[in-house]
Each structure stands twice: as structure tokens, then as C-alpha cells.
């Protein structure tokens, strides 16, 4: 399978935070969700792909090209929606679009006009007058107007209402229909990803916990619920995260079959949602946290 994005042990060191040897592959024509709590390193990873920050180790290949050596070419084939879109405050949206267009070989002004209409963008308004949600819509219209083969979205759904979130997901699915474009989509609103993402990468504390197909994740991760008196040292050692409440415990594991063998009657075993995984993974389960 051709990988549009191939990251090998990418590392970035900040004071007090390291994005540590992150590896992932995204094939052409698929959506990958990038999940993780705030501060996990999602934005850092996206910035590394675009070479917006200096990389301290590892390699990143986009469309088979080294992202440093072929930076300009790669960027003209990427559509990017940052978590905080920033353009010249006192420029109108129309003039921002005109200024951005020449950077892209395949800029499609008709497509931009169509999207601007569909997203109800106030093209004559100044950028600074826009709400956060409208800024995101504008960045999205730009990102989808130059035939990008890779679309990077950093927390695009924050600030968008459910109606537009649906529309965004439909737009992305529309891109995938052509089998040419891939999408990397970071979000902590995991409901958006649960159904539509083909692959999920979970990062926490700067490390990849897993990067797998959503199907595989849905099959292997389960939540075990039971009485707190039954949570012995063995069970704790087996579980990959546990939360203890007054009336029972919730534990997370990626070994669904083994969990069904170990925990029989008196326990509930349910498929873990991405939210469950994010909340429970690595939790020590000291009481009542």
C-alpha cells in the first residue's frame, strides 16, 4: 500500500515535554484520527509534518518525499487547518484567499467560491471580526480548494456546531470517494472519529500508545466493570488503566478475549469507546479519582 504519510521515530524535545519517537503510516485514500488528551503532542506532531518546528530526530516522508528536502512541493499538495487559524487581521477574507492562491499550483478559485458560499463565509469582512468557528470554516475552505492529497486538520471541530461538524465529516468522506486524498484529523471529540476514521493513533505524554485500524481498536479494547472488592493485585496488573469508584471499578484492557476468560460472572465487559480509552488508559486507580 502506498503511504501518503510515513513517520519513523519522529522526535521533538521541548523543556518539560518530549514527543518521543513517534511512528505512524497513513495509506492513500483513508482517514486517520489522532486522539489524545490536551498536551499529548498532537499539535507538535502536525507541526513536525509541516516543518513548522525543528525536528530533533527521526524521519518524515510525505508522498514518498523527505519533508525537509522537498518542503515546498509537499506543502503545495497539503491542505492544513490549524487549531487557531491566523491570517492578517485587517485583511478581508477575499484578499487573504487571493494572497494565498499563488502558493498553490492547483488552486481552484471556482471551488473556493463554491465552498465559501456553502460555508456562508463573509468574504468582505476582516479576518479579525470572525468567530473561532468561522475562522476554522475559512481555513477549511482554503485547505480544500487546491486539490490537496493530504489534509491535516488540527482540532477542527472545536468551536463548530454539530450541524457543521456533520457537514465537515461529509466533506472529508467526499474527498475519500476519489481515492486520492488522505486525511489526518486530530480531535478530542472522539465521537466524530469513532465511525468515520479508518485508522486511529492514540498519543499520550508524547508517545504513541497505538496506531491501528479503527476496526482492530474496536475489537481489542474493552472496559471491565466489577465490584471494587474484586479488584486484586492480579487484576490490577492485567488492566492497562483502572478507575475506582465508591460502588465499583472500571478497568481498561486491549486483550478482550483474555478479559472474557478472566472476568466471568459478576462482571460487565463492554467494548471500549475511544473516550473510554482516552480517559482510562494509564490511570492508576487510586480511590475515587
Amino acid at each position: 500500500m502506498e503511504h501518503v504519510l510515513d513517520i519513523e521515530r519522529a522526535t521533538k524535545r521541548y523543556k518539560g515535554f518530549t514527543l518521543d519517537q513517534v511512528s505512524l503510516q497513513l495509506p492513500r485514500g483513508y482517514i486517520m484520527g489522532l486522539i489524545g488528551p490536551n498536551g499529548a503532542g498532537k499539535t507538535t506532531l502536525i507541526k513536525l509534518i509541516l516543518n513548522l518546528i525543528h525536528r530533533d530526530g527521526g524521519t518524515i516522508r510525505v508522498f514518498g518525499l523527505d519533508n525537509l528536502a522537498s518542503e515546498a512541493e509537499i506543502k503545495s499538495r497539503i491542505g492544513f487547518v490549524p487549531d487557531e487559524p491566523r491570517f492578517h487581521d485587517d485583511a478581508t477574507l477575499q484578499s487573504v484567499a487571493s494572497a494565498v492562491a499563488p502558493y498553490y499550483t492547483h488552486w481552484d478559485s471556482k471551488r473556493f467560491a463554491t465552498l465559501a458560499g456553502e460555508f456562508e463565509l463573509p468574504l468582505k469582512k476582516n479576518f479579525k471580526k470572525l468567530s473561532h468557528g468561522t475562522k476554522t470554516k475559512f481555513a477549511l475552505a482554503l485547505a480544500l480548494s487546491h486539490g490537496a492529497e493530504l489534509v491535516l486538520l488540527d482540532e477542527p471541530t472545536t468551536g463548530l456546531d454539530p450541524v457543521f461538524r456533520r457537514r465537515l465529516l461529509d466533506k472529508l468522506a467526499g474527498l475519500l470517494e476519489g481515492e486520492r486524498t488522505s486525511v489526518l484529523f486530530s480531535s478530542h471529540i472522539t465521537a466524530d472519529l469513532e465511525r468515520t476514521a479508518d485508522f486511529v493513533t492514540f498519543v499520550k505524554n508524547g508517545r504513541v500508545v497505538f496506531s491501528n485500524t479503527m476496526d482492530q481498536v474496536a475489537q481489542s479494547w474493552v472496559v471491565v466493570k466489577g465490584g471494587r472488592e474484586t479488584l486484586d493485585a492480579d487484576a490490577r496488573a492485567f488492566l492497562e488503566g483502572v478507575r475506582v469508584r465508591a460502588h465499583g471499578f472500571e478497568g481498561l484492557t486491549s486483550q478482550a478475549d483474555e478479559a472474557r476468560r478472566r472476568f466471568g460472572n459478576g462482571y460487565v465487559i463492554e467494548r471500549a469507546s475511544l473516550d473510554d480509552i482516552m480517559v482510562l488508559f494509564g490511570k492508576e486507580g487510586s480511590n475515587d479519582d
Binding site: 461529509d170 468522506a173 475519500l176 465511525r195 476514521a197 485508522f199 479503527m214 476496526d215
Partner: protein
């Protein structure tokens, strides 16, 4: 083609899709040679991932319900529906035999078993 996906169902989404398409082929609602939507189109329609949709089609293809002709699309396979129905009936029979074995172990009377079956059947409706 009509497909309804339940998020609350215990069955995985790919299985829900495969089951509904299978049922529509067996009932004749989808007929031989009919063109199915492409994997990516269906994924978009149902707002689910491409991989999940692909998995449903792969399962149906393995079971002989559909054929993919590269470059042309996915079609309902030419099939002997009588034969398919017989095959499915046999599967039903096997499952029932299993249930009968279990019931015997627990000394469940045939009438009681029949009643259980009747209740389950109407419950599912």
C-alpha cells in the same frame, strides 16, 4: 438497497451491513446483476469508515453473494437462490440442534423448548 445502522447494537457495523444486504439478496429485493454502490460511496452515505464498508463487501464476496469486477463495480452475484436458502436453512438447523443438545442436558421438555423458541422469535420482531 436499504441499510439502517444502529449505534446501540452489539453487532459490529460491518456485520450489520453484511446481514442487511444478504437478507435483501435472499428475499429478491436485490436481484442478480444489480450494481451496488461503490465502497467509498456507501461509506460516505452511511457516514462510516471505508475500511468498515470494505469489510462488509469482502465478507459478502467470500460468501458468494456479490462479485467485484475491477473497473466496473460490485454486482449482486448470479446465484441459485434456492440453493442459498437451503444452505442458510441448514445453518439454522445446526444451530437448533445445538440448542436441543443443551436443552436435553438440562432436561428441558420439548414443549418448553418450543415455547422458548416462540417467545424469542416474537421478541426479535
Amino acid at each position: 438497497m436499504r441499510i439502517i445502522i444502529s449505534n446501540a447494537s452489539r453487532d459490529p457495523i460491518y456485520e450489520q451491513i453484511a446481514r442487511q444486504i444478504r437478507a435483501q439478496i435472499l428475499s429478491g429485493d436485490l436481484s442478480e446483476g444489480e450494481l451496488l454502490p461503490s465502497i467509498r460511496k456507501l461509506a460516505r452515505e452511511l457516514q462510516i469508515s471505508v475500511i468498515t464498508t470494505k469489510r462488509s463487501y469482502e465478507e459478502l464476496e467470500r460468501e458468494g453473494y456479490i462479485n467485484t469486477v475491477s473497473g466496473k463495480g460490485t454486482f449482486v452475484a448470479a446465484q441459485n437462490t434456492e440453493f442459498l436458502r437451503e444452505k442458510r436453512m441448514k445453518a439454522v438447523e445446526e444451530k437448533l440442534a445445538e440448542a436441543v443438545d443443551q436443552a436435553r442436558l438440562l432436561n428441558v421438555e420439548p414443549e418448553q423448548l418450543a415455547e422458548m423458541l416462540r417467545l424469542l422469535y416474537t421478541e426479535e420482531e
